[in-house]
């Protein structure tokens, strides 16, 4: 009985040890049976930038070639005529101006050089003594080969330099990729700025029926200084015979006149060959009751 129990205990222990051994071997060894996992490259942190509704891009300064202003001839003003004074009988005649004696032309004194200096100027400085020549008749052939090789290298270097220089010049000649884009973004900034400016000038007609659905486009033309070239013009939108709509359009025309001048817009847009803007007035999103 006791032997059987002992056998069982030994058997169980051996079995347990064996199982533990198998599990340990699997735990330690199995990972090495598979191929090592390829670690992914480190994640690139990308910042999501919240883009505001209004662009903040500042318009690049445009190099303006200043034209040399023509020099206008100064207006000649007629000299005020002095009343002729009549000399009274007892007037003493003004003294006659004495003629100035021409001074004798000044003779420039020649610099006087001392004999010792003259002598010193005559003495030429001696050239530095040349180092002893490394040219040896025994090594002439080797030197010729070396010089040919160096010459070839020099030509290569010069060619490389030239090509690099050429590339640089071409780069300089080509406008940068985003130069045009920046100009366009400047235009976008102008659009935002103008929109904000007009917001402050537009008095919406009070209480017009159907105001929520009204829309009007007004075109303006401007001079280089931003002032209006002519009266703003209604472009399209709706029926001007409708009293409500006519009042609405009038309010938009007043707004563009009140907001003038448009200096900055004129400066940028004239460079792009534009001298007019169309303002589209649209109060739909204002939350008006009607």
């Amino acid at each position: 009985m006791s032997n059987e129990l002992l056998k069982n205990i030994v058997g169980w222990s051996l079995s347990l040890l064996l199982h533990v051994g198998v599990v340990a071997a699997a735990y330690v060894g199995l990972p090495y049976l598979t191929r090592p996992e390829i670690t992914p490259p480190p994640a690139i942190a990308i910042e999501f930038i919240a883009i505001s509704n209004k662009t903040q891009q500042v318009a690049p300064k445009v190099a303006v070639e200043e034209e040399a202003a023509e020099e206008k001839p100064q207006p000649k003003y007629a000299a005020a005529e002095q009343p002729e004074a009549t000399a009274p009988d007892d007037a003493v005649p003004l003294p006659v101006k004495a003629e100035k004696e021409k001074p004798a032309p000044k003779v420039k004194p020649k610099p006087q050089i001392s004999k010792a200096r003259k002598l010193a100027q005559r003495i030429r400085p001696k050239t530095k003594p040349k180092p002893p020549s490394r040219l040896k008749s025994s090594r002439i052939a080797a030197l010729i080969d070396r010089s040919i090789k160096e010459e070839k290298d020099d030509v290569k270097k010069v060619d490389k330099k030239k090509s690099e220089q050429k590339k640089n010049e071409e780069k300089k000649k080509k406008p940068p990729l985003f130069a045009g884009l920046a100009g366009q973004l400047a235009t976008a900034t102008i659009v935002d700025a103008l929109s904000q400016k007009l917001d402050g000038c537009w008095r919406i007609p009070p209480g017009a029926k159907g105001l929520r659905n009204m829309r009007a486009s007004i075109q303006i033309w401007f001079r280089p200084d931003g002032t209006l070239l002519r009266q703003p013009q209604y472009v399209d939108g709706g029926d001007l015979d409708d009293g409500f709509y006519r009042v609405f359009v009038e309010s938009t025309r007043r707004a563009v006149i009140t907001c003038a001048p448009y200096e900055t817009a004129a400066k940028i847009l004239l460079e792009q060959g534009e001298n007019s803007i169309i303002f589209v007035f649209d109060p739909r999103n204002m939350g008006l009751g009607e």
Binding site: I204, P205, G207, Y245, E274, I278, F279, V280, F281, M286
Partner: protein
């Protein structure tokens, strides 16, 4: 990064160059809703003479004051202080110096001149100038008896208002209301009429009999109202221009809230029979009465839509007092109010887009509006007891009466108030007596002289 740029650049260039190639367009989506600054200098007399209504220069000053008062009362305009005026407007027919008005931020400038014609009538000319665009927007002259100067001021106000807002004016109109006097137990109620600004008050009845619910004809200078003469309820018709009363009908039972149809040919009202009130319509030409509703609930306060095709009324047929709309022949009845509380005295706007009502709830009576389909309910007032709304002819302003409770809690003091459709610009209308149940007239005919 360069890679992304290279990828994005063509797209961006395509998009932006597409924009740039077109005309530059700027969207303007916001604006100011502040009152429009206007200037109305005194109307200048061509020759300052003494008239039956005072010196002509005084009349000119009064006309400009009435115009300013009218326009400012709308809440849509702001009058520039006359002390700030730089240019003095004279009777000379010249353009104003716009540069003098621009620094004052004036948008509309009203100039006027007046003179006495050889026939003794007053001639008033006015011009409305757009100071910003430097153009004349309106220029009209009127001939009228001198005593009518105030009305001319209202007519001019209407022209200016209409030109600057696109809406019809409502200044040359009148209000009929119930003037109340005396203690709560012995209250005298008389029919009274006044200009919309409270001027020219007149009492139309002597107070010996009770007068209720006056309503203006939408197209004639006539009033219908309910009166208990000799304790007998009668519906009367009163013509303002001829001062003639006419009995529309003797109704044996209780009658409530008569109101004209839009064409003025019918009067709709509620009649009570055996304790049940229903809607009836009376044809003024044939005097024929037609029943429109037949329900055990109390149907009352009917009001036509401006095109006459529908009628709104209140009824408790569903268990509580609510608003219902039906076709003009009484068919297709459907409920439109579903908010908390009870709804009463519905009135269809002359524009047709809204229905005004009195809402009863939260221990208050308040004035509100909703669309004819019941949506978009808005309360415009918030006082202890506001009720009985009436629309201005252009559907822009509501007038109603407000009862202010006495200190001891018994009864209250009614007065007339007006409020803009937006809920702003709430104003009390001055009356010499306590006033209730106002009704707004249509615009007075301009060609009619005298009153």
């Amino acid at each position: 990064m360069t890679f992304f740029r290279v990828l994005l650049a063509p797209f961006l260039i395509l998009i932006v160059s597409g924009i740039a190639s077109a005309q530059l367009r700027v969207d303007v989506t916001r604006g100011s809703v502040d009152p429009v600054p206007i200037a109305v200098p005194e109307f200048a007399p061509v020759l300052d003479v003494e008239t039956s209504a005072g010196p002509l220069s005084d009349i000119g000053a009064s006309i400009s004051q009435v115009i300013v008062s009218n326009l400012v009362s709308t809440g849509l305009f702001r009058a520039v202080d006359e002390n700030a005026f730089i240019e003095k407007i004279t009777a000379a027919p010249t353009r104003p110096n716009f540069a003098s008005w621009r620094p004052l931020a004036v948008q509309g400038l009203v100039t006027g001149r007046l003179e006495i014609k050889p026939d003794g009538n007053l001639r008033v000319e006015f011009r409305l100038w757009d100071v910003v665009q430097e153009i004349q927007m309106e220029g009209v002259g009127y001939n009228t008896p001198i005593s009518n100067w105030r009305r001319i001021a209202h007519v001019i106000s209407d022209r200016i208002y209409s030109r600057l807002t696109g809406e019809e004016g409502y200044f040359d109109t009148r209000i009929v209301y119930i003037a109340e006097q005396g203690a709560a137990t012995d209250r005298k109620k008389r029919l009274a009429i006044m200009d919309q600004d409270g001027a020219n008050q007149q009492l139309l009845t002597d107070g010996s009999y009770l007068v209720l619910t006056p309503r203006f004809s939408p197209n004639r200078q006539e009033i219908t109202f309910l009166s208990y003469f000799n304790d007998q309820p009668r519906v009367y018709l009163f013509n303002i221009l001829t001062n003639r009363f006419e009995v529309l009908g003797d109704f044996p039972n209780m009658t409530f809230a008569p109101r004209f149809s839009p064409d003025g040919n019918k009067v709709i009202m509620s009649l009570a029979e055996e304790g049940n009130s229903d809607i009836y319509v009376l044809d003024l030409r044939t005097r024929k009465v037609t029943r429109l509703t037949d329900d055990p609930g109390i149907d009352t306060s009917p009001s036509y839509s401006p095109d006459g095709s529908k009628i709104v009324f209140n009824s408790d047929r569903g268990g509580s007092q609510q608003l219902y709309v039906m076709d003009a022949d009484g068919s297709n009845v459907h409920r439109i109010s579903f908010g908390k509380g009870r709804y009463a005295t519905p009135v269809w706007s002359p524009r047709g887009d809204l229905i005004a009502f009195t809402k009863i709830g939260e221990r208050k009576f308040r004035i509100g509006v909703m669309r004819p389909d019941g949506r978009g309910e808005r309360l415009l007032t918030d006082a202890y007891q506001d009720e009985g709304p009436t629309w201005s002819p252009n559907g822009r302003v509501l007038m109603y009466f407000r009862t202010t409770r006495f200190q001891n809690g018994s009864g209250g003091k009614p007065s007339l108030w007006s409020v803009d459709l937006t809920g702003f610009n709430e104003r009390q209308v001055p009356t010499p007596f306590d006033a209730s149940d106002p009704a707004w007239s249509p615009p007075l005919p301009v060609t009619t002289r005298g009153r």
